[in-house]
Symmetry: C2
Subunit: 369 residues, 2 copies
């Protein structure tokens, strides 16, 4: 299936949580399937930290890889594009087509870099809402996403309670934990310590690659469980049978991390990484309700399907349960499942069948009611 990226230029300035606003915002997005006559079959999919608008299919038959959730989304798949009109957009602040720190500042004619305003998950969602409005959709059938995508899903339900019938927050939490903030701090420190970073003013062909790779390596550890690292690598050595007694990579897990770091630098921008991780740090649905999550959810009207994974220690099940409890206190409709999986946080991309069946059945129920 061939999918094509599209662009939407917001006609009005976008106000931001920091108090500033952005002009000429461009949102890169893709759609799959057809919007039905009463525009009631639209499903918005929100992507995780380093995802993009290319959720499924290929841009060209010669593409080696399909979109990031191709096993989940497409004709006849769990989120069936024969049935639903699927929309996925690159987040504000990103580096995959939507306005972000590497975009040209219309006021100066130069890239924003660190003059780009620090954005929040709510700002990302505010931009998405504009896109959905411009597509002529008054109410989405559902908003679905995992990890940082799940944060956007939750923000949608709280900020635009009538804008969707259902939401599916996967492997996420109602507020970003201090442990998560701590990991982000160290990751951003790696980028900012790289001499190539130059306070954000690096040329595109000479980015702070080593710092960005380090940030990615660290993040990768948090995406895997101890169990999955044990199963995948154990203490296996990389192409050798004895320790080299040096500081190069001896272990397969070291070699894997190095590879992941290098590959990431080819596809992602360091400044965007700073901005997007900062947005997640600031994510806290209860910021305005003094930590009271039931109060934060008081006005939501969407039906919830919340999914967590047993070995996910970045967004542990405990945090999903807090949401379930708050919603039940509010007498909201919520389904919850913890999927038993050894894959850690990555499970939300890997346990496609078990997750997919649940999401498919949930969407069907929402449709008929």
């Amino acid at each position: 299936m061939i999918t094509l990226p599209q662009e939407c230029r917001l006609t009005e300035d976008l106000p931001l949580d920091c108090g500033r606003s952005l002009k000429d915002v461009v949102i890169r997005y893709e759609t799959v399937g057809e919007l039905n006559a009463d525009a009631s079959n639209a499903v918005l999919i929100t992507h995780a930290l380093t995802g993009d608008a290319h959720v499924c299919g290929k841009h060209d038959v010669s593409d080696r890889k399909s979109g990031w959730w191709d096993e989940m989304v497409g004709p006849g798949k769990y989120i069936d594009t024969n049935r639903y009109f699927v929309i996925c957009s690159n987040v504000l602040g990103g580096c995959s087509g939507s306005t972000g720190p590497q975009s040209i500042d219309p006021d100066t004619g130069k890239p924003y870099h660190l003059d780009f305003p620090v954005i929040t998950v709510r700002d990302m969602v505010r931009a998405q809402k504009r896109l959905v409005d411009m597509l002529g959709i008054r109410q989405l059938l559902a908003v679905v996403g995992g990890s940082m995508g799940g944060m956007q899903v939750l923000q949608w339900a709280v900020d635009y309670p009538d804008a969707m019938r259902a939401i599916v927050p996967i492997a996420t939490a109602a507020s970003y934990s201090p442990q998560n903030i701590a990991f982000d701090w160290v990751a951003r420190d790696a980028i900012r310590s790289d001499a190539n970073w130059k306070n954000g003013d690096y040329p595109p062909d000479d980015p702070p690659g080593r710092g960005l790779a380090a940030a990615r390596m660290l993040a990768h550890i948090t995406y895997l469980s101890e169990e999955s690292l044990g199963r995948k690598f154990g203490r296996n050595l990389q192409d050798k049978s004895e320790y080299d007694f040096d500081f190069a990579h001896d272990f397969a897990v070291e070699s894997y991390l190095e590879h992941q770091g290098k590959r990431f630098v080819e596809r992602f921008d360091a400044n965007a990484y700073l901005y997007i991780t900062r947005a997640t740090d600031y994510f806290d649905l209860t910021a305005e309700t003094d930590g009271d999550l039931a109060k934060a959810f008081a006005n939501v009207s969407a039906k919830f399907l919340i999914v967590s994974f047993s070995s996910d220690w970045l967004f542990p099940t405990r945090q999903s349960r807090l949401m379930v409890e708050a919603l039940l206190r509010d007498r909201k409709e919520v389904s919850f499942c913890e999927i038993q999986s050894g894959y850690g946080h990555d499970a939300f991309l890997l346990e496609v069948d078990r997750l997919g069946r649940m999401v498919r059945d949930f969407l069907r129920q929402v449709e008929v009611k």
Copy 2:
């Protein structure tokens, strides 16, 4: 109580696991209490990654802080120096008085830096054994240590089965996990990426401080539990009531990490950090028994007291249980306790009373039998 550092120069070259050997090795150590007439009351305490020989007391009455385990060790304390002759030495490869990468290579008259051989936990223990021999002690009453100290304890029991009557490995494991190796890889990458590192040849007054601080910040996250981070910091802001919308520290946890990183650079050497973490990566009691831990423990004769902490995710209880099961298969004497604690890995230094009572009672039992 005043304690004084002492030095022991090994009279013979020290052979190492990597195949090389070290000349003129110096081991910095401290002793507290008195060795009894039949030299049967000696307790060796082994320190963790960034510890040193200064286990308790003060070097000078004006010292602000006491040794790193002062609440545990001293006259009338849990490891009672009125009763026991306590020895603690700085590990080989360290930077607190024992021979390490910043020491002068007797062959060149210059500091070793990266010419220092990559050492192992077994090498550290081999050096300690020489020290204990030189102190005239044929059999220790016990070897006690937590974290990397626990690895040394285990290595003692396997390599020198008749050299002690009991061992107490705390918050540790029989082999370093791939997750631990992965974190070390990223930490060392931070040091090696620092332009000041200069492949190890930095001058003492211009060390790769930023990289070392990053390594320490990362390690700190792994020492705390999600719960303790939540209790200690939550999402509290540092000296402000609203987000600054920038990349400096907004959150208390960020400010804490930054402080810990900076303080660490004042007291620890970057090359030593590389060498000591590499030694832990290589730690695997089952390396020569094809992963069979019962086989690795087959010849131990010491009584074991193994202690883990419920919220320690760096060395989870599961890993202690593997040791207990292997020892029971071997019909060895082993006591085991998981202490319920929210402090994460740091609990081995913080849960002094609960841990201390257990260690005290265990040592008494070993004495009388």
